[in-house]
Assembly symmetry: C2
Homo-oligomer: 503 residues x 2
Amino acid sequence: MNTTPVWSVDARTGARTAQVTVESTTGGVDDAVRAAHAAHPALADRTRRAAFLRAAADRLEARGDELIATADAETALGTGRLTGELARTSYQLRAFAEVVAEGAFLDVVVDHADPAAAPAPRPDLRRWKVPVGVVAVFAASNFPFAFSVPGGDTASALAAGCAVVVKAHPDHPATSELAATALREGAEAAGLPADVVRLVHGRRAGVDLVQHPLVSAAGFTGSVAGGRALYDLAAARPAPIPFHGELGSLNPVLVTEAAAAARAEEIGAGLAGSFTLGMGQFCTKPGLVLVPAGEAGDRLEKALAAGADAAASGALLDTRMRDGFLAGFAARAALPGVSAPVRAGEDGHAVRPGYVSVPAGLLADDAYRELLDECFGPVTVVVRYADPAEAEAVLARLPGNLTATLHAEPGEPAAAELLARLTPLAGRVLFGGWPTGVAVAPAMQHGGPYPATTSTGTSVGGAAIERWLRPVAYQGVPQELLPAELRDGAAGVPRRVDGVLER
Amino acid sequence: MNTTPVWSVDARTGARTAQVTVESTTGGVDDAVRAAHAAHPALADRTRRAAFLRAAADRLEARGDELIATADAETALGTGRLTGELARTSYQLRAFAEVVAEGAFLDVVVDHADPAAAPAPRPDLRRWKVPVGVVAVFAASNFPFAFSVPGGDTASALAAGCAVVVKAHPDHPATSELAATALREGAEAAGLPADVVRLVHGRRAGVDLVQHPLVSAAGFTGSVAGGRALYDLAAARPAPIPFHGELGSLNPVLVTEAAAAARAEEIGAGLAGSFTLGMGQFCTKPGLVLVPAGEAGDRLEKALAAGADAAASGALLDTRMRDGFLAGFAARAALPGVSAPVRAGEDGHAVRPGYVSVPAGLLADDAYRELLDECFGPVTVVVRYADPAEAEAVLARLPGNLTATLHAEPGEPAAAELLARLTPLAGRVLFGGWPTGVAVAPAMQHGGPYPATTSTGTSVGGAAIERWLRPVAYQGVPQELLPAELRDGAAGVPRRVDGVLER
């Protein structure tokens, strides 16, 4: 029996405030997965599932004050930000209720039997998608609501009809318990067993979870090291399972000479705002910015420095991240030829933002590899390029990203080519603006080439549901034995019938 | 430099007939991948891509006589079967041309900017899918056309806009070379570089291919052992890639008491035809059949035995498979309590089909585990169950499958429950009929839980294209810089605009 305590820690001081629970044992994880597996068939009814998602949103809002206060103590993200994040989380649950009700995600395809079909007679075939089974969700540190217990992975998996076992993030165990309670209350309000959502705690529990034979898929938001370790376990199982992990991203930004010339101050100030937002703890933080050498770029850096200098100090999510951020900044700033126009540092338990600047040519050297790794926290790396070839050489060395951003002027001849150049690097490509801020919208893609994501899925937007489904075709099954959505004349879900798309 | 010869072997005698080429070296694989990568952008034009797929089908047909004669010598599958397979393969290429022209696979979603959106103002976002890059295709032994060089993996990857490097199957290298030539001629006829399709040979080449940094995804059809080894390599890469492998499947069939009582002779004869079709070398061969104990089941077995006894001898695809089949049959038949009413065996270089029969209760013992593993070739395992609980106990021990088949009587009360029971076991669930024969149709699902497939994809039907795409969202990009399909008012592809599905 594991009696390792799970503590709630005040992020602003690093002090333990209360014991929330104990870490889950292997037996406890097994109980949780079996309970979720037993509850899972109850989610088959789409009407009830949609009602559950709406009720869960209602329950989160009903417990909003307590959730926000608890999360603020555990994460130091501030009540303003957390109020917005909770609203986004409730919105997301309700948006998935709409997705469930519409039914397009079922991908219904009906082909009637055709004895005259070429190249061979064709049987009656009807395909749709079914839930994969129990989904393991690994919660993130930096979004205690939107990417944690009640977040996008949970919402999309429940929407797909999968029961969920969440592994709480140790940065906010009390918040996690409260959120799980709200979700379970929502299930019961919709007439579903509460065990469609279960919660486990502790690092060992995460390993047990991803290896459990009754877990059919996993979602993860976190670090490259942690995510890759779990991905490897998922792939090494006797029966491997899909592991949809969001691990890390530099989110490169390319500023053209023309854009710097026209908007140096605006871009510099915008960058300062974006890389310090939420104390740089967004997965979409712009972590590497290609800025032209020369006068326009200098003006941009000046505005950036002013913005970074003026940015507030703040606590990071936990002490480990704080120490990692300070060490990461120091290591980058100490590289020969790298300057630190605004130096990050300690401010009591809090930290001050900073940035470094480096000539692009140096990055050809593997000794500078670290500058191409994400550093969590309020730091960005400005890379000054002398000509487009230097910028291209840096782009060619980048790993995959969630986002890539182009700052160019309207009508600039190279813009189309540069956008095409950035597309292979990321899942979301921005023209202007900043990548922080991820809209919950049908067209959102939050996921990109490895290590941004370990799959081609998205963890935000309606398409996130696709990760938890698998297709099944029924052949020659009599009408009365088919699921209602697959029967002849079934109304209410978009379908493709004998090759033709129908509403 | 590798000078290991690659031989064409006469499947009917096991004798080498000609040296086709030499095995590809690591440098040769690198050349092939780099050439394909360089050619890949030329596939971006959808009109040209569709023309290419049609031209490839034309070229395969133009070379049909030579392809069929070569494949018949290398596989012993017979010119009748191979003529049909080539027609299916050409049809498949043309069907993917239609998929490309229609454009639904692009999954276009447009969300216009909405400053008043809840819970936060929304930027302009437009999402579609782009090709993942170069795809490695591992050809199968048992379908020298339809699941090999010009087969479904290649056709769907090219349709997605990916260049392809195929690793030829050693059972039919001469056929592979001819088919690759036809595809490359098709590319040139459509004004594309021939290198959108490249071919490599040899086991080492397969390993090099799946590990090559410029390969972005892989498709595989073959054995559990070979597929799992390549899957593990794909997952262990510094940047893992999707590996869509079809590995192995028992394709269970459940015959209810009522169905056996009503149609014992029809079912027994149908089963004999299905498990011996193509000398049992289909991935959808029914390999385990649950038959009720008692008189009706005895009649079914009698009809099965008569059919199996009357089935023709034939050569298997290669000597290794022949030896594996004979050893596999002998090992199964030698288990205590297992009978072999029709005994498989040698007939010169050819083999005779056979089947074994076993009481269901024995399968609870791990000593009988082998009966739940696929045995390639013309053998099936009849499992006699005394009651539904015994049948359920066997189903509970089964791994994942491509198909699962229910033989029940119309109106039988348990039919709905049994169909629901079979659904978690497979990607295609049949009511009556036999799983051999995989229609190329939009509603087809050819893929199922592991080890049937290593992903949730399908390798047959229009949805096979989805495996080679990844979503990209454009944010705030001016109209003139967007791909045509994403612009306001773009016609011609199905889209979702501001939440509403449009034709």
